[in-house]
Symmetry: C2
Subunit: 296 residues, 2 copies
């Protein structure tokens, strides 16, 4: 299996799908649509969509069914980044090496552009032609995504993260916050593929849930490590930004060595869960390694 | 028919349903959940849920099927109010006679609380037990609501409204903005009832669509009139707030007399569309009058 080629292929697929689903610039309100497209089509790595397609490979799912969940999850991810970057939140000026949406446009437009990405995500799940014959699957996908983004999911994680500024979280609290803030949407990527026909049996479902949880936590700790050691140029946002705001992070709590050891341990545990899927999970394995060993 | 009693009964019903669906204060993150409850349970008139139930009466729909759409639409309405009130948007300190959410809490919490109301709205439609047997209806309800709240619906209307500050909109542009900003969610209230079994035939559907459009426009023009002539105490927000920001409004464009005449004309047109529903639409008629003739 050529993981790099597959990644290129799926990235091209998701870029095309995102471009197709986002409102065209010619449609009014123009500036709002421009801000929506700017927020989403900004050259992200598309980790979540890649996970949707990779999990689909492990399960033998028709990729045509996976375009809608891949798009919906990426729109929701973009929504969260735009709001997290706002002055009232993390107050970041740079994202993916470009001005954040409120810097490139203005604050009101950034708030509204993200607000409009949320319902678009849900609407994609309802209207994509490939999914229309499967109403039960559509409802399951909306439910999984809605729960992941709610007050006990991603948005709750961001609230806990903001509240933790200047406070020293316990390790268990920190891992809980990570599970909500980043973990839930990564888990949703995997479990959305599992919600499409053919669905895995209960053992397969549980293995994928555990895989997602280990991977999500490893991803976030890796992100913290990169924030400490990366250079602004490579990671595309201000290096040391977390430390500057005295945010709780894994390396701050345990030191870099232990943080790295925890990432390796979580990756091994995640990959172990894929054993029963055999070679069909080769790309998912490749992707998990790539995500956790990335340098930006 | 005793319209006032029915209103009391349905208001009690929607308050109980909202309270049941909103996360309890005991569930973390506590402050976020407190802000969500504050934003929704602040004594609104619940016009949109009342329209859902009233349209359901006209169509002979089991009210048990209507609780979920009524809750979902009211959560989405509350979401939009919290974001519209933010400093970067309308910068309002008062709403329903109380401090706005960002004043009672803080800006970040207000943004996040509203962000979490959106997915909750969609999740209610997916998980309410009464709707679970009707997956096609659930998908239709998610679709109608998502489209209404997106960039070519409510959020787009708010973007146009902000962009219009200090500019003189043409009448057609103003009515288009009203249709998106307020009209779409009112229309969604009616059409969500029509999406539940038993569905009306095509003639009935079109009559309800036209009814919704006339009513939505009348509602918004009435709102503008109230903003000019109402007292702060009665309308619960700062009187003359629109004028202070040089916002485009119907009375500013045409004068009060013509604005009032237009409201009366639109109400008559709306009620005419209900003729074919006979006495089953009595409460919907009552409600339409109440909404358009309200003094706050």
């Amino acid at each position: 299996m050529d993981g790099a080629s597959k990644t290129d292929e799926y990235q091209a697929r998701i870029e095309a799908a995102l471009d197709r689903w986002l409102p065209a610039l010619e449609i009014p309100p123009h500036r709002l649509h421009e801000a929506m497209r700017y927020s989403v089509l900004g050259g992200g790595k598309r980790i979540r969509p890649l996970l949707v397609y990779a999990a689909g490979e492990a399960l033998g799912t028709d990729p045509a069914l996976l375009d809608a969940p891949a798009v919906a999850i990426e729109l929701m991810h973009a929504f969260s980044l735009v709001h997290d970057d706002l002055p009232a939140m993390d107050n970041d000026d740079l994202r993916r090496g470009r001005p954040t949406t409120h810097k490139a446009f203005d604050e009101a437009t950034a708030i509204l552009a993200a607000d409009a990405l949320q319902p678009l995500a849900f609407d994609v799940l309802c209207t994509d032609p490939a999914l229309v014959p499967y109403a039960d699957t559509q409802v399951a996908l909306v439910h999984i995504l809605a729960e992941a983004c709610g007050s006990e999911g991603m948005t709750g994680g961001q609230a806990i993260d903001l509240a933790s500024e200047g406070n020293r979280l316990e390790a268990a609290e920190l891992e809980h916050m990570y599970r909500l803030k980043t973990g839930r949407l990564l888990r949703t990527s995997i479990m959305s593929a599992a919600a499409c026909p053919p669905r895995p049996d209960l053992d397969g479902t549980h293995a994928l849930e555990r895989f997602s949880d280990y991977l999500g936590l490893a991803f976030q700790i890796r992100d913290d490590i990169l924030d400490v050691e990366g250079e602004t140029e490579v990671i595309g946002k201000q290096q040391g930004a977390d430390e500057a705001r005295s945010k709780a992070t894994y390396p701050a709590l345990f030191g870099m060595e232990q943080a790295r050891a925890r990432v390796a341990e979580l990756l091994a545990a995640a990959l172990h869960e894929l054993d029963s899927f055999g070679s069909r999970a080769d790309y998912l394995t490749y992707l998990a390694r790539l995500i956790v060993e990335r340098d930006h």
